[in-house]
Amino acid sequence: MKTTIQFGPQHPVWVEPLRLKLTMDGEIVKDCELEAGFCHRGLEKKFEWDYNKGAYLSERICGICTQHHSTCYCTAVEGTMGLEIPRRAAVIRTIMLELERLHSHLLAIGLTLESIGFENLFMLCFRNREIVLDMFERTTGNRVLHGINIVGGVIRNIGPEMAKELEDFCDIMEKRCLDLKDMILKSYTIRERMQGVGVMSEQLARDLCVVGPVARGSNVPYDIRAVAPYVLYNEIKVKPIVETSGDCWARSVVRVRELFQSIDIIRQCIPLLADAGEDIFAKSKTLPEKEYFTRVEAPRGELFYYAKGKKSKEMDRIKVRTSTYGNGPGFVPLIKGSHLADVGLITITFDPCIGCFDR
């Protein structure tokens, strides 16, 4: 019996709209067609306004990698006017970036587990995530959309007390993540479901130019933090975490292992706060006029911003290439030939962020 299943745009497994048109043969998917654009708001056009407001708009492209979007945008605009941000601001930005990677990866792992019906660990992931969100609320004043990055620096300082709290947070988080790692890696049913499912070979990964944990799960050591260091990653060396098997399991394990990497980077950043000067904001004397681009390693992979000024407060052009946009074509070949039960799992291990995807 051949049937066509419309997977989405409103589907329980995704919180965001995306449509997969699946042609089925029994339980096996014969053909798959990806339809996006349900989230298209036209933000790149909207960016042609006051560059200060743009920082807030760039945050709202995607709520999960807020900090990465706004950092990338601010760095690009700062580049167009040749502005150097104070060191303290750079340290604070790096801490926030890594905190965000923690919360995003916990979310991705949790949703992956939920898509295979493991409610208990899903709840545990979200419980751990609440601790990160609390930390965000203390440091930035909001749980998800932080709004501390502006062109020229940040608006909230991390004082010595907060630094102490961050250290405590790192200890608690590491212990909790270790527990989580044990539970995930040693569970029989999770391995049964994920190993050997949705295998993306290294060649395919290179051909499709996938980025982020998806590429690293397929043995492509591509991490912008190591390849083209930005803010503080010149000093803090990052070694890309790579898994070789390329299946759903590998992609999830990369995320689990990156949790510890992020905690480690935060730990390295905290002492740097004490040495950095008190300035967190540098006022620019010029207006954006040149062209500039930046790349940032978002939780989902490479994030690219191109900015062009026209010697006025308004920007001429901002181009955004998000990580999910690079990964999007990747899941279509994997879904072909898989079970219907695995469709949700495969897409979720790509950690699709449709808000980024469609902009």
Partner: protein
């Protein structure tokens, strides 16, 4: 598998992590960004916040000397707080409760140092002085006319 078993055992014994929210009051950390309030005694009606707001949720009515703040449209970014030259805008720490209609908050500006108000008061004073000079009967019709003007603007807005 054993680790998960141990974990669920621990969960069963320990108290639930759930906060008892509607029954216990809302608790927040200091410095949480919620909606903003305007201080009418400090505002000088310069309009910087209106121009800088990314969500276009602040409308300054200079003639009526009041600020219209669309609470439901505000994105709580805090940019207006930063640009305000007189610190008339402050950010609350308690979130706005949900409602069945969209919320709009009007704030009347009473700051006498605001240029617009200064101008008006000067004009009024001049008018008053002008009215008092020729005859005492002239003061009657002058004031209602001014008020009517404001009313017209309100209805049109």
């Amino acid at each position: 598998m054993l680790k998960i078993l141990a974990n669920i055992g621990k969960n069963l014994i320990s108290k639930p992590y759930t906060s008892n929210y509607p029954f216990t009051p809302y608790q927040h950390f200091p410095g949480v960004r919620a909606d903003v309030t305007f201080d009418g005694t400090k505002c000088i009606l310069c309009g910087l916040c209106q121009r800088s707001c990314p969500a276009e949720c602040i409308l300054i009515h200079k003639e009526q000397e009041q600020i219209e703040y669309l609470n439901t449209q505000c994105i709580r970014c805090g940019y207006c707080v930063r640009v305000c030259p007189t610190n008339a805008i402050s950010q609350n720490e308690v979130y706005t409760k949900p409602s069945r209609q969209r919320l709009t908050v009007y704030t009347k500006v009473t700051n006498e140092n605001a240029p617009v108000i200064k101008k008006r008061m000067a004009a009024e004073a001049a008018k008053k002085a002008a009215a008092e000079k020729p005859a005492t009967a002239g003061t009657g019709p002058a004031k209602p006319a001014g008020e009517k003007k404001v009313d017209e603007k309100k209805t049109s807005a």
